[in-house]
Amino acid sequence: MQIIVNAEPHEVIGATLADALAELGYTSPAIATALNGEFVSRAKRIDQKLTEGDRVEVLSPMQGG
């Protein structure tokens, strides 16, 4: 299925957010995720089902003011 990750389209096989992240190489522990604008905690990624066209944001610490 196709999902949008950080504004880029990706084809993934995994059915959950945790699977999709692993598949796309997001292995760093220092990431936080949101699905369609809602926060998904680390613990809930494994149960979070994905559907076609879902928008996923994967954020990490960055310099800020």
Partner: protein
């Protein structure tokens, strides 16, 4: 100074963006003795781009104040706060809800709404606001225990555009920690903020974009200390006319 029950000695809060290198950032942190540094969240490249930066911050020993910079809606800011809380393992959030992309002026209506949601969820909110007293009251009602009025637009280095507004805030909220956030350009701006009775100053660009960021970080810390001491020493009132400081009594007649 106590911020959400935590005793903080340094009255300088430092942003971590726009430094020439991570080494200069770390040296600036040490030079000014800050205990609180601000950070952000941005899209991760699959290679683990944020992990190295995060590790460096942890080694600084500073408390982390994540921001919601760039958020223009309540939902964006609230979701970003949730992500920051998990990532940085802190209830602290510097809440920015931006109203204009050119002036980066806070959307105070969205700010109050987001603050209410986040405070109810147990966040300890540092709201980036204006000097408006009514907005300040609404933020306190929402559960904020401190206020962060702007000095001037973010990154502008204009100093304090409205010192009278900040003075009025100090008088209106005598027991609320007030931190000037944004607009500081020079050490004298930071000193003035402190002389007006602000409790602390949050700055970033003024240090990061100085010719010598490490020296500027030290200068800012000195200015903030001097301004604070000056405020506590109760400056004399201004006078319209000259008043001789040398006694007139006993002046010789030599004509």
């Amino acid at each position: 100074m106590q911020l959400y029950g935590i005793e903080i000695a340094s009255r300088l809060l430092l942003g971590t963006a726009q430094y020439p290198s991570p080494a200069v950032l770390n040296a600036a942190i040490r030079a000014c003795g800050t205990e609180i540094i601000t950070v952000s969240l941005r899209r991760e490249a699959a290679a683990g781009s944020g992990a190295g930066f995060w590790q460096g911050l942890q080694e600084s020993g500073c408390r982390i104040l994540p921001n919601t910079a760039g958020c223009h809606s309540v939902q964006e800011a609230v979701t970003t706060a949730h992500m920051a809380r998990e990532l940085f393992d802190t209830p602290w959030i510097k809440l920015e809800v931006i109203g204009h992309s050119d002036s980066l002026q806070p959307d105070v209506f969205g700010l109050v709404e987001a603050a209410r949601i986040l405070c109810n969820e147990g966040f300890q909110v540092f709201p980036y606001t204006t000097e408006d007293l009514v907005v300040g009251e609404k933020l306190l009602e929402a559960g904020c225990e401190l206020l962060m009025p702007w000095g001037a637009p973010i990154g502008s280095g204009q100093g304090l555009r409205n010192p009278d507004g900040l003075r009025a805030m100090r008088a209106h909220f005598p027991d609320v920690p007030l931190i000037v956030d944004a607009g500081i350009g020079r050490p004298s701006d930071a000193a003035l903020a402190m002389e007006l009775g602000m409790d602390a100053v949050l700055l970033n660009t003024a240090v990061a974009k100085a010719g010598d960021p490490v020296s500027m970080a030290a200068a800012m810390a000195q200015a903030i200390k001097a301004g604070r001491t000056g405020f506590r020493a109760e400056p004399m009132p201004r006078r319209d006319m000259a008043v001789p400081s040398t006694p007139v009594l006993g002046l010789a007649e030599l004509t």
